[in-house]
Symmetry: C2
Subunit: 339 residues, 2 copies
């Protein structure tokens, strides 16, 4: 436990007979010192087992090489994938990802963001546009650059990389309409504090309204993004307002939950009910029946967010808005409407 006795840069400098400044440069900016000196310092460093003190470095240089991410729970596969690729891309550039999660609670999110800023992150990655108003004030005061993921800001006010949820949702609904469905139900995520969910729901409404088809209020149900909750919500939907032939789900987790419940009650998909997902998580292809869904490039969003942030930190100009394309993936959970 000899933590206090860790070699510091001063020890390396002494061991290699150079000044602190030169030792620092030899390790951080190799081009600035003569090759021979550089080698001497490096050797001394590895000899002593020197590990730079990142905290001190951050204080002195006013950059921590750390990016914070404030995400919903990563037990949702799409967020797991995005954080994964985000972290990977950042690590490749010598940055570390500091991850915080918030359970869809804006207050928790605010605290987490504040904590990350205190920890001195060089940049932040957020999810969606719905935040406590204090968030943006906090971000502005701190002068921390941030990227918003998943959503794109129609006002063009924030840097964003995401997809057009509403349009994708319209397309998905149209797919069902083309199959002849007229009786719709929606298994949505909670719309409070979640603009993606709201947009997706709005997309369904928009597509139906365009054909003058009613979406009954009792056929819209909100549930948490977990399998058990989704099953329960679907059961409730069936009990409350049966008779729909198409179910549009806020995401794949909800859709797969619905499929599980269908299987459990011997309901045939897609013969008696078509189920549409959203996201195209890994599970979707393996579900039974394989889930028709909208592919959202989650990992790509993470990668792009990393790339954009790194570019901005390097002082490069980055287009404020980057919209990624989504695609319908038609599998076997949707079929012609029964009569």
């Amino acid at each position: 436990m000899a933590r206090g006795s860790n070699p510091k840069l001063a020890d390396v400098a002494r061991a290699s007979g150079v000044s602190l400044a030169t030792a620092s440069r030899a390790l951080a900016e190799p081009d600035l010192v003569r090759a021979k000196t550089r080698e001497r310092v490096r050797e001394a460093a590895s000899m002593l087992g020197y590990v730079p003190h990142g905290v001190a470095r951050a204080l002195a240089s006013r950059r921590s090489r750390t990016i914070g991410a404030v995400f919903p729970p990563v037990d949702n596969p799409i967020f797991a994938a995005a954080t994964q690729s985000l972290g990977h891309a950042l690590a490749g550039a010598g940055y570390t990802l500091l991850l915080a999660t918030h359970d869809y609670d804006p207050a928790v999110e605010l605290v987490a963001t504040r904590t990350l800023i205190e920890r001195g992150v060089d940049g932040l990655v957020l999810v969606g546009l719905d935040h406590d108003p204090m968030m943006f004030q906090l971000l502005r005061r701190a002068g921390v650059p941030y990227e918003i993921t998943w959503s794109v800001d129609p006002a063009g006010f924030h840097h964003c990389v995401g997809v057009a949820h509403r349009i994708a949702s319209v397309r998905a609904t149209q797919h069902l309409l083309e199959l002849g469905h007229r009786e719709f139900a929606v298994l949505s995520g909670h719309t409070a504090h979640n603009d993606r969910t709201r947009e997706r729901l709005a997309g369904v409404r928009e597509a139906l309204a365009a054909r003058a088809i009613e979406l009954r209020a009792d056929r819209v149900m909100e549930a948490e993004f977990t399998l058990p909750q989704a099953r329960a919500a679907f059961a409730l939907l069936q009990a409350r307002a049966p008779g729909f032939t198409a179910l549009v789900c806020g995401n794949d987790v909800l859709a797969i939950g619905a499929l599980c419940e269908c299987a459990a009650r011997g309901m045939r998909v897609p013969q008696s009910l078509s189920v549409m997902g959203f996201d195209d998580i890994d599970m979707a292809a393996g579900a039974s029946p394989p889930l028709t869904t909208v592919r959202v490039p989650a990992a790509e969003i993470g990668r792009r967010a990393a790339a954009r942030m790194l570019a901005r930190l390097a002082g490069e100009a980055v287009p404020p808005i980057e919209e990624l394309q989504v695609g319908m993936v038609v599998r076997e959970s949707t079929g012609p409407a029964p009569r």
Copy 2:
């Protein structure tokens, strides 16, 4: 972008007419200053919108209130659950979780660990016992306390909180034996750099050996922990050495992959093949058929790891080893052996 102009503690001190030291104490150790002074300082702080500079604080106090975690990819639901609960528990105690992931590559893991140590984490949470030998040297030199999760160290050398993979695996295999199965196959995770996987496989072998039942080498297959890989591996297993009636899987992801492939080829589970999982992820209960598996308390492992680490940092004595109980969850993917 007025980052440079952020108020610092000195500004707060000046504004409230006290010294730097008193201002620091008023905010960090309220009991040490007179109530009246404390209020004056607090007021000045919120007036100015003062946000403490965590990096400077960490440097001066030699504690960062940050815990690092080096995990396999969190797209595996068990790790997502564990990091989630870990982060939660730490946040509740004013600590931040710094998460790094490593794709089951010991070299990457070593670099990530080193990075976290450089960042000044107060403690580390690792997964399993298989690590680059340099890891422990690094940890010892840095004097950073660490907790190993999932596995328990038989030698009692490290602080651990985990489960007895081998014994659980023996039990799971016995369950299949009791159902009359004699022809076994194993769909295992990669055993390199993964002691949990090896122990689980060893458990199967042990249980079979006890009944003098052979496990043919061509009936053991390793695959990555993803659905598509699992499906492919299962297909290969079927092609290479068909005829087994029981399939023991290294985890639920692999098992569900196998179930998907069974469904795709019209193979009836459990009538013609029994499938056994491991972990009891959310999906397991919803799979079709619902998966028989071994419940591993992933979230609880995260919580306990946090509690243990916090206790140790607070100087409390913590029993070095904590073994959590696992339980068989018998659902519908296992049944009597066909004849």
